[in-house]
Amino acid sequence: MAKYKMHLLVCGGTGCHASESESLLSHLKAIVTDKGLENEVQVIATGCFGFCEKGPIVKIMPDNTFYTQVTPADALEIIEEHVIKGRKINRLLYIDPENKVHIADSKHMGFYKKQIRIALRNCGFIDPENIDEYISRDGYEALAKSLTEMTPQQVIEIMKKSGLRGRGGGGFPTGLKWEITSKSVADVKYVVCNADEGDPGAFMDRSILEGDPHSVIEAMVICGYCIGASNGLVYIRAEYPLAIDRLKTAIAQARNYGLLGDDILGTGFAFDIELRYGAGAFVCGEETALIHSMEGLRGEPTMKPPFPSVSGYYGKPTNVNNVETFANVPVIINKGADWFASIGTEKSKGTKVFALAGKINNVGLIEVPMGTTLREVIYEIGGGIKDGKKFKAVQTGGPSGGCLTEKHLDSPIDYDNLIAAGSMMGSGGMIVLDEDDCMVSIAKFYLDFTVEESCGKCSPCRIGNKRLYEILDKLTKGNGTREDIDKLRNLSHVIKDTSLCGLGQTSPNPVLSTIDNFWEEYIEHVTDKKCRSGQCKALLQYVIDPDNCVGCTACARNCPVNAIAGERKGIHVIDQSTCIKCGACLEKCKFNAVFIK
């Protein structure tokens, strides 16, 4: 039986594959067999290390050596020098870009510090349905520390000093919010957790609730202690059944352990949590609409002020925070404000969880310090664009955000930079777009969403967004004019300036940012009636190249609307007025005679 002493891990990700990792793998395997080491050394292909820039990567276990840019020609040296003689090959080690030192042990590589998991610390690590596992990872210690060793004001000071800002998108300082609510005088106050995650493509809150529900519960109790509330409510979408299930289990366990209830940890402090289900309306992520929805009213926003911290749920002071914001709280109290503030940028502290989606290789959840660049997120952590296509843009902030383009790739991600770039942090969805995506259609997609989700209370949002959508639709159908683009821009500004709540104030952002960043594409749609990505079907023309057409009649026979005319063995022609652009002719032609113009 084989008993391996050493493992050689060769990256088999798409990026490394392109740079000959496969041949490297077979070389290594052959040499190992050749030297009679096949029972001691195992060579194996792995998934992407996310370090594609320096591929192919070879990692040697158990000593954690990390070789970069290894060519098939290096295989023999690795086996002879490293595996047999135990000498590391300096030339292939990763060089620290800052101090130019060769790094032998991958644990010391800066690359691994690209991601640091604070809010996701327990996600994928503990059993979310077992409170003991949470406790064994310092769970509820922050609560015990707050209740027994600190006054509410001291806890608030820590939160303020940490610089934590709301992770739901707005970026309001959490400590300050707690302080304002704590100063409101009332007999009853509420702590609300906003788990109404609505941005298309965003799923970080769901994952936290599914993977680590206790961290949110603990933080809510701490918040209750700080602001003087004994009631907690979680507003969660009914379409998150697993998250609801896990949260319920966690709440029951916490009650059982005396961590929720009338006398928490024997301190006399009382706090309990209930769930409220949302029906999945996007506007209910807005805090005033959320509160109305919980009261059993229509989910419509109201004017601020009064802010919920003064008059919220049933007119009582209410502190609303997002799931991810809460998940950060226990760590900040355990490890201190200074530790948290040491991560991130000047005005945005800590980390942010992003849900990577779209045309990217490693779709998933990542957590990076604020200030990480888009390039690092997309190319190093995300593994680059799918199928080796060209990056076009990344959409952040959902329907309220905008598109960032190539020129933004190297600017650090934080609240203020994203706003300066015409987008916003939002809840953290990142949808990556490649050259095959049409920016006018993207703007139309988001407007379609906003039109559906607008609550209809104020006219700029209800009517204005509908008109924006109609103009965009006109553009994608090839009926747009130059004036339409100006109209889009003007109307967008009116909607932004006059809408009641955040939904309407931000809904034109996808339009404005695509106009700003992809002006030529809009112009092409209206003047040349062309869509460079081929997404706008109405703007395509299927044409037969007379040089290649042999007159086989395959296209004409397969055309569902009989738009193709031509004699057998003669050149065929597509009648553009009848053509429905289904693409059947292109598919059937064996002579590459049909093409898209």
């Binding site: 039986m1 084989a2 008993k3 391996y4 891990l9 088999g12 195992q42 194996i44 792995t46 998934g47 992407c48 290390f49 996310g50 370090f51 644990k107 691994y112 510090k113 991601q115 640091i116 998991r117 996701l120 610390r121 327990n122 996600c123 994928g124 690590f125 503990i126 059993d127 979310p128 003991d132 406790i135 064994s136 015990a144 027994t148 799923f203 769901r206 994952s207 936290i208 599914e210 993977g211 680590d212 998150y240 697993l242 352990y257 005396g258 940890l265 024997g266 301190t267 760590v331 490890k335 530790w339 040491s342 290789n361 490693n362 779709v363 998933g364 959840l365 990542i366 957590e367 952590i381």
Partner: protein, 130 residues
């Protein structure tokens, strides 16, 4: 205050009891990512498979569920910790792959294709350095 300490101590005792009695260090530990993304890709079947097959094949192991590991592109994902070794995460685990993992990795320590390298830092690591 005294009460709190008592509860805390109780918990600690309970935790250590749980850890010692199971003695997780000497057992194979298997964590299956069971968030929506994982379950949608079949993590439940994979977890059941591990539980049933390990028992049938007489291998002492602890199989638990956990949340999303973040590698949604490669679901279902499973983390395996062999006694005394660092954890290894496998992606795209179906029951066939799970069978491979049991036969090759768990029994022989032989790695199976489909490893997802860890590319993040935990708060514990971060603490040690500071």
């Amino acid at each position: 205050m005294a009460d709190l300490r008592k509860i805390k101590d109780d918990l600690r005792v309970k935790m250590s009891l749980r850890e010692n009695s199971n003695n997780p260090e000497s057992l194979v530990q298997i964590k299956v990512a069971m968030a929506t993304c994982g379950i949608a890709s079949g993590a439940k079947q994979v977890m059941d498979f591990f539980i049933e097959e390990l028992e049938k094949r007489n291998i002492q192991a602890v199989v638990t569920q956990t949340g999303c590991m973040g590698y949604c592109f490669a679901e279902p994902t499973v983390e395996i910790t062999l006694p005394g070794q660092s954890p290894v995460v496998y992606g795209y685990v179906d029951t066939k792959k799970a069978d491979d993992i049991i036969e090759k990795y768990i029994k022989n320590g032989e790695l199976v294709e489909g490893i997802i390298p860890v590319n993040y830092e935990t708060i514990e690591n971060n603490k040690e350095e500071k």
